[in-house]
Symmetry: C2
Subunit: 186 residues, 2 copies
């Protein structure tokens, strides 16, 4: 971040009065440009004791498998975003959604919110960002070809809790420490 998006002047990285962290502050109009974590929202579409994964047609992680998910947009709810991403990536419709897990991933400043729900009619087909979409049970999941660690973790958590009530929400963190990922639940 080099220039003020409001007035075009140069930015200074400085701690504003009353603040505790350095911010990009405009030297001309004094606008403070905050940077905050982004939310990734998506679904775990369920059908016939299987769940839907999408094979990515885009970078990063082209060719690897993931749940339908993407950046939450302004002016939508996290559930609306999750349903939108499922439609865009897998032409999937979801009923009876409930918030399954929330993960903070501080080293990439992201928060994941994933909703489990029924894949209506068990129907899905690849959207523009997917090469293939496919239903997997626990044993057939391509565990070695999952696109992101948080998705692997969510899938493990899902199959461990698949017998439990749909309304339980799990929350935790995925922390990178000395090159390894540590998962905390609370």
């Amino acid at each position: 971040m080099n220039f003020c998006s409001q007035c075009g002047a140069t930015l200074n990285l400085t701690i504003p009065d009353g603040d505790t962290l350095p911010r990009h502050v405009c030297i001309q109009c004094e606008t403070i440009h905050y940077q905050n974590p982004k939310i990734i929202t998506g679904t775990i579409p369920e059908w016939d004791n299987k769940i839907l994964l999408c094979q990515r047609a885009i970078e990063p992680r082209h060719g690897l498998w993931t749940l339908p998910a993407g950046f939450m947009e302004n002016n939508e709810t996290s559930l609306q975003g999750a349903i939108r991403e499922s439609q865009e990536e897998a032409n999937a419709q979801i009923s009876n959604p409930s918030l399954f897990c929330v993960f903070s991933i501080p080293h990439i400043s992201q928060v994941y919110m994933l909703y489990r729900g029924t894949l209506i009619n068990g129907y899905a087909s690849p959207g523009n960002e997917s090469l293939k979409v496919e239903l997997f049970d626990e044993n057939s999941i391509p565990w070695d070809s999952i696109a992101f660690p948080v998705i692997t973790e969510a899938l493990k958590l899902y199959f461990k809790n698949t017998g439990s009530s749909g309304s339980i929400t799990h929350s935790g963190d995925i922390i990178r420490h000395e090159g390894k990922l540590i998962i905390n639940y609370y």
Copy 2:
């Protein structure tokens, strides 16, 4: 948003190839400047069947009461942010936190995450952004002087579920429709 924060050139509001929504795109370096919802993270500090509220010393809503909460920062977890805000606004330490509620508020592009937890030793004192801090039971809450509708909703939800397990997470939306706020839970 008028200027590119990368190179300082003018921005065009246009729908990029393969996208569905208008974005601010730089006419020179072609950087796409996405805007996404922000997370507000905070706590419901519990002590002796009461909870802690802070009277705001800052705008907006100076003089009104709220839970300790604020914008989640990059490179922290939502729980770390909640604990940090409780320290900053009320010098409050929290133990045994669990995620109590997640609310999307699309008309202001915010997602609230509130953790219930024990206020250690029942101790709190006003931070820089608070005039007063005080423990309230349900009947003594200043219901007519709560700073934000989402906080009123979270407090109502809390007292309705106060007997239940600490590990239940509620999720929902606060939607503005024809000037009224509609609450959906799922």
